[in-house]
């Protein structure tokens, strides 16, 4: 129970509604950004940054990673490079 990890500190709920609003606004921003007359590279980069930002927000606040022990963060973050390695390596084929 996560309440146990916070017995020694003030129990504040994370700002769920605020995060919700941020996610909504960013979704709208993404859709708008996708149709801007920019070179493909900048479109893709910007959209990826926004998507990852949203994903991190969900992970940190809705999945409570922010209030979990540091060890859990490391455990979760450690395999992420594997995602990049596969895609980056194989793309060099083309």
């Amino acid at each position: 129970m996560t309440t146990e990890t916070q017995t020694h500190e003030e129990h504040h709920d994370p700002p769920y509604m605020l995060i919700f609003l941020v996610l909504l606004v960013m979704t709208l921003a993404e859709v708008g950004y996708a149709f801007l007359p920019l070179p493909k590279f900048w479109l893709a980069l910007g959209l990826c940054v926004m998507a990852i930002w949203k994903a991190v927000l969900v992970a940190l606040y809705y999945m409570h990673l922010r209030s979990e022990p540091r060890r859990l963060w490391i455990l979760v973050a450690a395999p992420m490079p594997l995602v990049v390695i596969l895609i980056a390596a194989v793309i060099t084929e083309f």
Binding site: P79, L82, I85, L86, A89, V90, T92, E93
Partner: protein, 597 residues
Amino acid sequence: MATTVAASGNHVTEAEHHELGFIRTYIFSTDHKMIAKQFLVASLAFLLLGGLLAAVVRWQLGFPGQAIPLIGGLFSETTAPGGIILPEFYNSLVTMHGTFMIFFAIMPLMLGVWGNYLIPLQIGAPDMAFPRLNTFSFWVSIPAGLIMLAGFLAVGGHAGAGWTSYAPLSADPEFSGVYMGQILWLVSLTILGFSSLTGAVNYITTIINMRAPGMTWFRIPLPTWALFVTSWLVLLAIPILTGALIMLLFDQTIGTGFFAPATDGEPLLWQHIFWYFGHPEVYILILPGMGLVSEIIANRSRKPVFGYHSMVVALISIAFLGWIVWGHHMFQSGMNPMLGTSFMISTIIIAVPSAIKVFNWMGTLWRGDLHFDVPMLHSLAFVSMFIIGGLSGIFMASAPVDIPLHDTYFIVAHLHYVLFGGSLFAIFAGITYWFPKMFGRMFGAKLGKAHFWLTFFAYNLVFFPMHSMGLRGHIRRIYDPSQYTFLQSMQPLNTFISLAAFFLIAAQLIFAFNFFWSMFRGEKAAQNPWNSNTLEWALAPTPPPHGNFLVTPQIYRGPYEYSSPESTDDFLPQHLPPDRVQRPPVPREPGFLPTGD
């Protein structure tokens, strides 16, 4: 389902034995030890099947086009009419030998048996973190196995595209002639993935969260360390395979074109995704064996593991590096040469942690009080055969060298040196070592030694010549080498290897007999016949009850305090409190006491 009762707040657990009935005890048990034995029975059966498939393969290679003697008539018209093996059936045999050995024998033996049996016992836990998930993990592997077996009955034959199932050969029945068999292969492995995955989740959670007090990370015995690292590889690599299998299944059934050139699909994509799984997979097959062997060598040398910390770091390094070497299976595929070069470099680098482990095993043996029991013999075979397999790996790591050697018998030699010379000897070592703990009786030593020597001898006769054959250009997975003029000179060697292989497989009967005989008639085992420091031997009863330990252990030291100067005994169990240690008398100096000596 709870079979232990703990008084909360203190360290005492009482292992109560509830009457559970036959089904809950033997069929749907949640006890990790029983599940381990279930995996043992199933995987040994598949090991036997894999061996028999190899025997049929070797018959064709040794005696091409000749009818299989004695049992030739048992084969159907579509496989071996009149006992003469058809080329399509040969392809299936080769594919199924690899598939059953890797997925249904070695993996369940390493993880299903040793992962399940050893982890809770060695860390001082009463059971796994998720016992019911554990039951699921075993039982979901059974339909997977049955589906894979069913493929033999499929119209068009079983999958025949190799255990690596390269597309587009495997994706289009027009190329392979196989439809249903390939689908069953894909479905079976997808289901089996759930078995491995749930196992990995269980092992990782248990090792992180359920170690007994005092069992810090660097006091964990090496088998459990190896199983922990391996579980991470399973967790992250198997889903990659699942994705690849699903896409190939869609290519076959729905008609998507992921890997088919006709639809602009990419055959290389299959290879990349498959080997991104496939290379961590081979470390999954060997790392637990390394852990088992480290334990046995230390114990049977009555010496600490040389460089315990570096052994752990080496395990972790191999696991990390193992993710960036996969392209060395693809040097000949036509992939980007720059990418190939990077894989060459990373593959050469990964030899380093493996070499560290080899030197550490040798350092452990050096000047040890060596006991050449059956487990020790198998462990020594592991180290020496792994050295050979590893050395051939260095050759293949170099792309220019690999290009002529790829898909020749040099590769077949390498893979069998690490998988049989490595993994299988480690498994034999583990079974003969932990047999007394599992079954309460000693594994017959005389027959055990006979089996070892015959196996070791025959195995080298089978696989060592294959290095030379590969260097001389003998391709792998071919149906009839005698068709090629440049291979005809090697036909006598092929025949010799086949005869040695039949002998090798027959020698396993000794092991099978000994296994069952010892289980029922073997000498009753003491609690700790190997005088081991680890909890499963030194503390848990033989065989351990539900809940494993009558009292939650408190750990005071690492697992390899053999021949320690602190104790008169040549071993010093992990759980023994410091005040219970039998210390040698302190030597007195002259003039130490007023009375003078």
